[in-house]
């Protein structure tokens, strides 16, 4: 039981790190644009395929192609924001939801058409051996995914708090009219925030590619949990998202030790409902910045 629990705690935390990177992207987009991005899962899937194809066709190491998938998704995000999101920003919320859902459907079906639904795996040979330490397995690609995810999340946090652009993004998310009044180019900030959110989830896609199965619908598996994380952490709160992500990863994994594993996600939703009932602003602070 001892090593089993230890293994569960470790793999839960590692998985939580990935949830964190997916969630901060989502929470940033929500915080700044006030849009719930249903295309987030599809964008994560694109990040996975970018690294997969660069690896298969050109032998590019996924940790190198991380840059390509983050930049590529950033570019796509900016483009999507400019072409599709901007026109609906003043539209009713359900229109915005339908729009991002539509983007998700288009991307998923495009992937289905171009790359077939066949699941694929990306095996990095030098990471393909998982050492056992005291009966606990340490999976190198998962450790890297965790480390890089947490580092990127902290980096994003620092960027938002220390740089002028970051502060401008936060200003827009907190007080749009005020930001406008002091001369911040809101359109640019919107595009930037959406792009950064997409870059985060693209990077997350690359990071899970070496140990997860890649297919056109894979994004949903991580992003459904990320939605819960965002609400738990307080919509729009970055630090809250990080902590909530680790908590959810941990809860999911440790729960599987004690209850039938197929029910482990129920634990997340129970926490989710409790938080909504007792602390609707989220576990960590009032959110918004």
């Amino acid at each position: 039981m001892g090593t089993l629990l230890l293994q569960a705690i470790l793999s839960g935390l590692l998985n939580g790190g990935v949830y964190a990177l997916v969630s901060v992207g989502l929470t940033l987009i929500f915080g700044v644009l006030g849009i719930i991005n249903f295309a987030h899962g599809a964008l994560m899937m694109l990040g996975m395929y970018v690294s997969y194809w660069l690896f298969v066709l050109y032998g590019v190491d996924p940790y190198v192609s991380l840059i390509a998938s983050a930049l590529g998704l950033f570019g796509l995000g900016v483009l999507l924001e400019r072409l599709l999101i901007t026109p609906v920003l003043e539209a009713p919320e359900h229109n915005q939801l339908l729009l991002t859902l539509g983007v998700a459907l288009v991307l998923e079906n495009l992937a289905l058409f171009l790359w077939s639904p066949d699941p694929r795996t990306l095996t990095v040979s030098y990471l393909d051996f998982a050492p056992m330490v005291g009966g606990v397995m340490l999976s190198p690609p998962r450790l890297i995914a965790f480390g890089v995810s947490v580092a990127l999340t902290v980096l994003l946090y620092a960027f938002l708090h220390r740089t002028d652009v970051g502060k401008a993004i936060r200003a827009v998310s907190q007080e749009r009219e005020g930001a406008l009044a002091v001369g911040i180019n809101i359109q640019r900030i919107y595009a930037l925030a959406f792009g950064i959110g997409c870059a985060c989830v693209g990077a997350a896609g690359t990071l899970v590619a070496p140990f997860y199965t890649i297919d056109p619908y894979v994004g949903g598996i991580f992003v459904i949990t990320a939605f819960v994380v965002v609400v738990l952490g307080g919509m729009g709160s970055y630090f809250g998202a990080l902590l909530a992500a680790l908590l959810v990863g941990l809860a999911e994994s440790v729960a599987a030790v004690f209850i039938p594993a197929a029910m482990k996600q129920i634990v997340i939703y129970v926490i989710f409902v409790l938080v909504l009932l007792l602390r609707p602003q989220g576990l960590f602070g009032p959110g918004r910045g």
Binding site: M1, L4, Q7, A8, S11, G12, N15, V18, L112, S116, P117, D118, P119, R120, T121, T123, A130, M132, M137, S139, F211, Y212, T213, D215, P216, Y217, V218, G220, I221, F222, T225, E252, S253, V254, A256, V257, P260, A261, A262, K264, Q265
Partner: protein
């Protein structure tokens, strides 16, 4: 024919041509009407490649029959397959079944999904049109007292009972005595399968020490596989789908899960799939799976596989067997019924005794519920990157390697 009569340019043209042909001897003029057969499979979405592989199996059987002169008993009438897409949605499947029957289909084939088949067979039953199940494993499909539903493929009970029996045979064959079994299964189809495994395992001297249900949509299976490892059973029985199977096998590997007997799939959607080998290479080596398969020692089956691959430029799948076989049954019944009248056709199907087919097992014969009593599961093993049948010996094209080697195999 129940086909509604509409006048289009095409029918007018056909009639004009027909009128011009009046001078030709009567024998040539009286071409018998086409026989329509409906096939419902997932032709779009994630299951599309599998759906097409089944539908193409149906098409191949029909094309071969037409090329050989059509249905002799009906004056050489040609058979035409109409494909429909159920998109993996039961309500879409039901609507398509309804449409095909209204269009004049004399029988339905389908559907590569138990949930959809439950619906389409119900529609067929209501209209009194025979429905041959191509691929759908749930026992319940033929347990509802339907008169028009027939299934050639082995059902969940066959998968579990024969699978467990083969594993015992392996033990006897190799002089090893394994008793304890842990079962890792996904929680929808796998859960239904598990209840059958739990029922048949004790009859073959196995003691199930525990089972772990998991969700095929989980982002991590480390804890699940760790729990299975902690059960320390002689054997692991494993059922699930393709994508989760790839994740699971790598997790087994990372956690050094090496049961004394090995990891054996039961009706596993991954371990008998060529993509498993393509994606995981040597990690997949020696893994076994009790599942449906073609008959590798039948020259007829080998010939059909060659023709299929030449015709469709795609690899023959184990699912294709059941599209092809179900269609053979239908064509055979049309000959014997010498009629497309539903009741006569149903009678002919019910009296089927078809020995010339491409699956393992004896002649296709239906019990009074419409299930093929000779449906035979085989035990496959991956050897040198190819899927081989190792049991029953009558259909084997390789010797089993058992107990299954541990992860040291990766060094070799």
């Amino acid at each position: 024919m129940r086909q509604p009569r509409t006048y289009t340019r095409r029918t007018l043209l056909q009639q004009a041509v027909g009128a011009m042909a009046l001078g030709v001897p009567a024998l040539l003029r009286a071409a018998p009407p086409e026989i329509l057969v409906g096939a419902i499979h997932p032709l779009t979405g994630p299951l599309a490649p599998d759906g097409h592989s089944v539908a193409n199996g149906c098409l191949l059987a029909i094309e071969q029959k037409n090329a050989a002169g059509g249905i002799q008993a009906l004056g050489g009438a040609k058979v035409r397959l109409i494909n429909a897409d159920h998109q993996f949605k039961p309500q879409v499947g039901a609507a398509e079944a309804e449409r095909l029957i209204r269009q004049g289909a004399v029988a339905l084939l389908g559907t590569f999904s138990s949930a959809v088949t439950m619906q389409t067979t119900q529609i067929a039953e209501r209209h009194g049109v025979p429905h041959l199940v191509t691929v759908a494993v749930a026992d319940e499909i033929t347990e509802r007292g339907f008169r028009y539903t027939f299934r050639v493929q082995p059902n969940a009970t066959h998968m579990a009972s024969q699978g467990v029996q083969y594993v015992r045979q392996l033990c006897t064959l190799k002089g090893v005595d394994f008793r304890t079994v842990a079962v890792l299964h996904e929680n929808t189809f796998g859960a239904a399968l598990y209840t059958r495994i739990a029922k048949f395992a004790p009859q073959h001297g196995f003691d199930i020490v525990g089972h772990i249900p998991y969700s095929a949509r989980a982002s991590d299976l480390t804890t699940e596989v760790s729990k299975i490892k902690a059960m320390d059973a002689d054997l692991i029985f494993d059922s699930g789908y393709l994508n989760d199977g790839l994740l699971k096998m790598r997790t087994y590997r990372d956690l050094r899960v090496e049961p004394r007997g090995g990891i054996i799939g039961i009706a596993n959607g991954c371990y008998s799939n060529p993509l498993f080998i393509k994606e995981l290479g040597r990690v997949s080596e020696y893994i076994m799976d009790a599942n449906y398969w073609h008959n590798p020692v039948s020259p007829f089956a080998r010939e059909v596989i060659q023709q299929y691959e030449a015709r469709f430029q795609a690899p023959f799948q184990s699912h294709t067997v059941w599209g092809y076989n179900a269609t053979l049954v239908l064509l055979d019944a049309l000959e014997r019924a010498a009629s497309t009248e539903p009741e006569k056709l149903r009678e002919a199907i019910a009296r089927t005794r078809l020995a010339r087919h491409i699956a393992p097992g004896g002649p296709i014969v239906f019990d009074d519920k419409g299930q093929n009593v000779n449906a035979t599961v085989t035990l496959q093993q991956i050897q040198n990157g190819a899927i081989r049948v190792v049991l029953p010996q009558a259909y084997a094209d390789a010797e089993p390697v058992f107990p299954i080697p541990g992860w040291d195999k990766l060094k070799g």
